[in-house]
């Protein structure tokens, strides 16, 4: 099984440099990954680097807290598409969900989806912060909002995807929406377990050696 086309090769840490984006795009081309997933400030750069390749560009909005205003998420998504993004991942407003303000959670997603039209929209649930009932509620809101994918995790919370949560999501959404798992998925065996559980896309964190020179004064 060739899993490379399932992979969003991901580098979202705040300290990511242009050099690392260049390496990321090179590796993604080399491995024929489905996409690179990067912060919006680097979309234009990645677009240049990935011209005339199969590798798509996926970017994040309202990331990683999901607590920016809806208007801000909408604009951020539009600007990213203008810069060349092929897919948008937004973080659900977890505070609104926990406040049981489901109308605002729904509106947040619908507004982004309407703004980006045919571009695939993935909604990050951040399952590590949610209980089972909240996961089910969040899934149903994503169906109502016509999201294209549900993504389990941002990678910036306590933990990432679990098979248990993935199965809950799959059982709730059936075939209405696709699923992307993101978390501690680093090898083919684990990837295949998730694919067997119904996952269509896997976020894989890029690992680069980071160099940090010693401080001048301790």
């Amino acid at each position: 099984m060739d899993i490379s086309r399932y992979i969003d090769y991901t580098l979202l840490k705040a300290t990511t440099t242009e050099r690392e984006i260049i390496d990321l795009c090179y590796q993604a081309k080399d491995q024929d990954f489905y996409s690179v997933c990067i912060n919006p400030a680097y979309v234009a750069l990645a677009k240049q680097l990935l011209e005339n390749t199969n590798v798509k560009i996926c970017t994040v909005v309202g990331f990683p807290l999901g607590a920016s205003s809806t208007a801000s998420k909408v604009y951020e998504a539009q600007k990213a598409i203008e810069d060349g993004a092929n897919e948008i991942e937004m973080v659900m407003n977890l505070g609104f969900l926990k406040s049981k303000n489901y109308v605002s959670v729904l509106k947040d997603i619908i507004d982004v989806k309407m703004a980006i039209k045919k571009i695939p929209l993935k909604v990050i649930l951040e399952i590590s912060e949610l209980n089972k009932n909240e996961i089910i509620k969040a899934c149903n809101i994503c169906i109502d909002a016509k999201a294209d994918y549900i993504k389990t995790s941002s990678g910036f919370s306590k933990s990432g995807a679990t098979l248990t949560a993935t199965k809950i999501i799959k059982k709730t959404i059936r075939d209405a929406i696709k699923i992307q798992a993101f978390g501690d998925i680093k090898d083919i065996e684990t990837s295949i377990k998730y694919i067997d559980a119904g996952v269509h896309r896997i976020g894989m964190a890029a690992l680069f050696k980071t160099t940090r020179s010693i401080r001048l004064v301790s």
């Binding site: 705040a14 300290t15 990511t16 440099t17 979309v43 807290l65 801000s72 951020e76 505070g95 940090r212």
Partner: protein
């Protein structure tokens, strides 16, 4: 007075301690009732402001009508890695919703790429939509080497920052005495300093104030003004 004098003394010229505090809740799961409580506490203790995510600015503004407590919104938070245009749009919306002050995160990745033009343009673009309002630029010092802290401080101040701020509270560390001293040295009197992340008790607060810090970002404001130690691990 809320506080007792301990071994750390503070100057008679100092404004009241509560007026240094941006009473802060920024976690992703903060609910409407968390924001209501935050604003109630800010009114009760007369904190300088509440600091919230941009989705809660209009709620906080409503709750704080006819009070002195200001509303501060974070922008591009906490990674600082969104596009400049998106930071500008988020800022405009926050101002429209009633924000009095803006705390934006510097683009750390571009700073580390030595793309300094892009870093200052990012800050200047935000400052241009709020010429008369207070802009704080978060450097996220835990990720920066000393030279980067100096450079980031200079870039922020030259781009119109009113404050330079140490930390988001979401990085690997918060404010340190060492980093604050360095920022104060670079800022001279051209910008104020906000220390945030890990400021949880009265003595730590005074230590920063004595270094010349003008604002403290903390979720432990009540513990600070009442002289207790907070066990709040958030910020």
């Amino acid at each position: 007075m809320f506080f007792t004098f301990t071994e750390t003394t503070f100057s008679i010229y100092m404004k009241p301690l509560n007026k240094y505090i941006d009473h802060t809740i920024l976690k992703a799961t903060a609910t409407k009732s968390d924001i209501i409580q935050l604003c109630e506490e800010a009114k009760q203790y007369q904190f300088f402001s509440v600091c919230v995510n941009s989705c809660y600015v209009s709620l906080a503004k409503n709750l704080l009508q006819n009070t002195d407590v200001k509303v501060c919104s974070v922008i591009g938070f906490p990674l600082g890695a969104m596009s400049t245009e998106a930071k500008v749009a988020e800022t405009k919306q926050a101002l429209n919703d009633g924000a009095d002050e803006i705390d934006m995160v510097i683009n750390i990745g571009l700073l580390k790429s030595n793309d300094f033009d892009a870093v200052w343009k990012d800050i200047e673009a935000v400052k241009n939509c709020m010429p008369t309002k207070t802009l704080k630029v978060i450097l996220e010092t835990c990720y920066l080497e000393e030279l980067e802290i100096i450079k980031a401080s200079e870039l922020a101040i030259q781009s119109g920052a009113d404050f330079i701020k140490t930390s988001t509270g979401f990085g690997t560390g918060g404010a340190t005495i060492h980093d604050v001293k360095l920022m104060k040295h670079v800022a001279n009197n051209n910008a104020k300093i906000k220390a945030s992340g890990g400021v949880k008790d009265y003595n730590t607060a005074l230590e920063y104030i004595n270094l010349g810090v003008e604002r403290l970002g903390t979720s432990s404001g009540i513990a600070i003004v009442t002289g207790q130690t907070s066990d709040d691990k958030n910020y």
